[in-house]
Symmetry: C2
Subunit: 148 residues, 2 copies
DNA sequence: CTTATTGCAAAGGTTTTGCATCGCT
DNA sequence: AGCGATGCAAAACCTTTGCAATAAG
């Protein structure tokens, strides 16, 4: 099973970080393992989140290493990027095609179930090309923040 | 008619840049007019697009002025931001709620008709909060690039 | 005339790069 | 042993800020 098949058919809790690195043809280093573990743990993490968290367990890590690895893993398709309006980029492990609910109050990101692409495409009269991917971000106030 | 009502009910070609500035309580300066004209002309423009284009007609403009104005206009709701995956932010005049088709080959952005939010919300089993806005980006290869 | 806006230059932040060293496989 | 990955420091970007001069209403 190749990388794409492996990550798209699994769930976050079942993901094995070392398997991903092997399938991506990347050497297994403690820095990489920790970077992916942090993203897996948090669900959605910024560069700062990752750097600060990994540094706790591996103080000698350099921010350059974080950037290089995030870039590599993104290029290989292991990570996806989420760009909320006027906020920093977040990274997540590409598990399956899902969407995001972004709370404009606490800035948390919640995964929401995949939306049927067929249905979305039917909403549009005309699309000027061939679709390869949909990115749907839903903004609002999450239930936690609404309570306050 | 207030700013929000004015920009949401008009079309790009009908937009009067000076009216927008008046309704936004911003002084009408040549720099501001040009900035908005460039965005209107291009449809979707990056900071660099705007700076380079305005400079042709107004060479003394400073990049700081561009940043300050984009920021102001965004805060007032005149502009919206589009953040394509691994690309710079683009700005557009907020006319009505529409979506974007982003060509992964030529990086052009095409406006597509608004998708019915009701329909989209029905796609999701559960959403962890109250929705205020939807942002839908469609990635693919545009017809122009497909021909090549 | 008053106050917002501009342009400049400096500061602050973020991301990338080159290179010598280190460590997976 | 060989080649890719790391860490460091510098460089390259990108964005914001403070302030004096200028221009809009």
């Amino acid at each position: 099973m190749n990388l794409k098949e492996y990550i798209m058919q699994t769930t976050l809790s079942n993901i094995n970080v070392k398997d991903i690195l092997k399938k991506a043809n990347l050497k297994i280093t403690p820095q990489r393992i920790l970077i992916l573990e942090v993203i897996k743990e948090k669900g959605h993490a910024t560069i700062d989140d990752i750097y600060n968290q990994v540094k706790k367990q591996y103080p000698s890590i350099s921010i350059a290493t974080v950037y290089k690895n995030i870039h590599n893993l993104y290029e290989k398709g292991v990570l996806r990027e989420i760009n909320p309006q006027k906020d920093k980029a977040f990274y997540e492990i590409t598990i399956y095609n899902h969407s995001h609910f972004i709370c404009t109050s606490c800035h948390n990101i919640y995964d929401i179930e995949p939306c049927d692409n067929q249905i979305i495409q039917q909403c549009f009269k005309e699309i000027p090309g061939k679709i390869s991917e949909l990115e749907l971000n839903v903004y609002g106030i999450c239930e936690n923040c609404a309570k306050k």
